[in-house]
């Protein structure tokens, strides 16, 4: 198995280990995570390969890949990993690194996933809680595809699955907005 030699520095491995609280070097490439992962087939590099790429310090390839964005955090792999590595935590670290380093989404789907998370966070920032209809509407506008998921809209609205108006908001929606502002400053000062 190829890993970087003792004398070679691998800053990627150090950062990932520190931020995720895991030790990626423990991975012995058994591939159980790949067999378990429900979305491995959609990934540029399935989890096992991501672990190996971290070990050999291939930062650009990893951050440009769709893998971390496709991870559903279902934790099935973590439960079965014989080396007890919490792989979703590693994936989470990779997503945060991609955002911080302004890595452009490599595909339309990754762009969509990131849009969705941004809009969701915006809803919470604005209302303190999620507002499903506006979330869906903004997603369609931002992704320039007005009619996606529209087959669901009439049914969902008629059945009251999705409400026309935001639910009872948090009284201190202002406090939540402030939390977002402070957190943003903290992230920037990293």
């Amino acid at each position: 198995m190829i890993t970087l030699g003792q004398d070679q520095k691998n800053p990627l491995l150090e950062v990932v280990n520190k931020r995720s609280g895991q030790n990626v070097l423990n991975c012995y490439q058994c591939g159980k995570c790949v067999g378990t992962c429900p979305v491995a087939g959609y990934m540029d590099f399935p989890p096992r390969e991501i672990m190996q790429l971290i070990k050999i310090g291939r930062k650009e390839a990893i951050l440009a890949a769709n893998s971390s964005w496709y991870c559903l955090t279902c934790s099935a792999c973590a439960g079965r990993c014989p080396r007890e590595i919490d792989i979703p935590k590693v994936m989470e670290t990779l997503r945060h690194m991609a955002i911080e380093e302004h890595v452009k989404p490599g595909s339309k789907r990754v762009k969509d996933i990131r849009h969705f998370h941004e809009i969701f966070n915006n809803m919470v920032r604005l209302y303190g809680r999620n507002y499903e209809l506006r979330l869906m509407a903004e997603f369609n506008i931002r992704t320039r595809n007005l009619f996606q998921n529209m087959q669901l809209a009439p049914k969902a609205l008629l059945k009251g699955k999705i409400k026309l108006f935001p639910g009872p908001g948090v009284k201190s929606a202002k406090a939540i907005k402030k939390m977002y502002d402070i957190a943003e400053k903290l992230e920037k000062s990293k």
Partner: protein
Amino acid sequence: MKKLTYFPGCSAHGTSEEFDHTLRKVMKTLEVELEEIPDWNCCGATSAHAMTDNLAMALPMRNLILAEKMDNKTMGIPCASCYSRMKTAKYELEAHPELAQKLSSIVEEGTFKGTVEVKSMLQFCYEEVGLEKIKSLVKYPLTGLKVACYYGCLLTRPKAVTQFDSPEYPMSMDRLVEALGATAVDFDYKTECCGASFAISTPEVVLNLSGKILEMAKEAGAHAMVVACPLCQSNLDMRQPDIEKLQGVKYNIPVFYFTQLMALAFGYPVSDLLPGKHIVPIEPALARIGETEEPAEKVTKPKKAVEAESEDN
């Protein structure tokens, strides 16, 4: 009367109104008083932890602090995703006091003490109410109804965080529905992921993953599925027509929240289940209740075996 701190979560007012509605009824019967956390906020769900370290912890931390100010031992959460975020935050904050210290600059509601237990409503029913009590309150046993209990990812995983049931083959919900008189079928896809928050951004993943789950439930002979998570419910129910179109099969498998079945068994009328909220009609499954064993179980050999035998002759 027992008191429980209650965190309904955002979907309780929208996609999972029937979960919240039946839960409140059921808790009344079980003599549990729900005290909703005043001014709770969104837990941040998948999106906060996908994008940021700090908010992923700070949003649930605010709710935990508000819950600690109330006088109850446990906080109950119906939604599996809210539960997972809150429980993960509690786990991390307890393991890393310096993290709580750091986040106190973001959360102004007070300091985190870690004095409230966080449980999913399924866990609360199973551990704190108990199956004996639930069984004793059943007025209308759900005999004849075969269900596949689907737990999804987050109720039992990661094991170190949830400390509840098995991460691979949990049985708590199965035992609960059996206490109500229903039959829980053996179901291999109990803890497979339904695609969760990809419903809007990446629907093809949800159709694929949820499709497999429905396929397995059908194969296991279930009349209905039972869940404890709003996202699982909407993926399996609302997307079922799309899945059927994609696979070219008909499932007609309604997807209940476990609290809907509890309400029914406790004698609440069907209208209290809010049947209008379901995309796949629930009536055909309800009609199975009271049915005795299906007409003398025929011993049917698999088609291939029959063919092979006829070739031998």
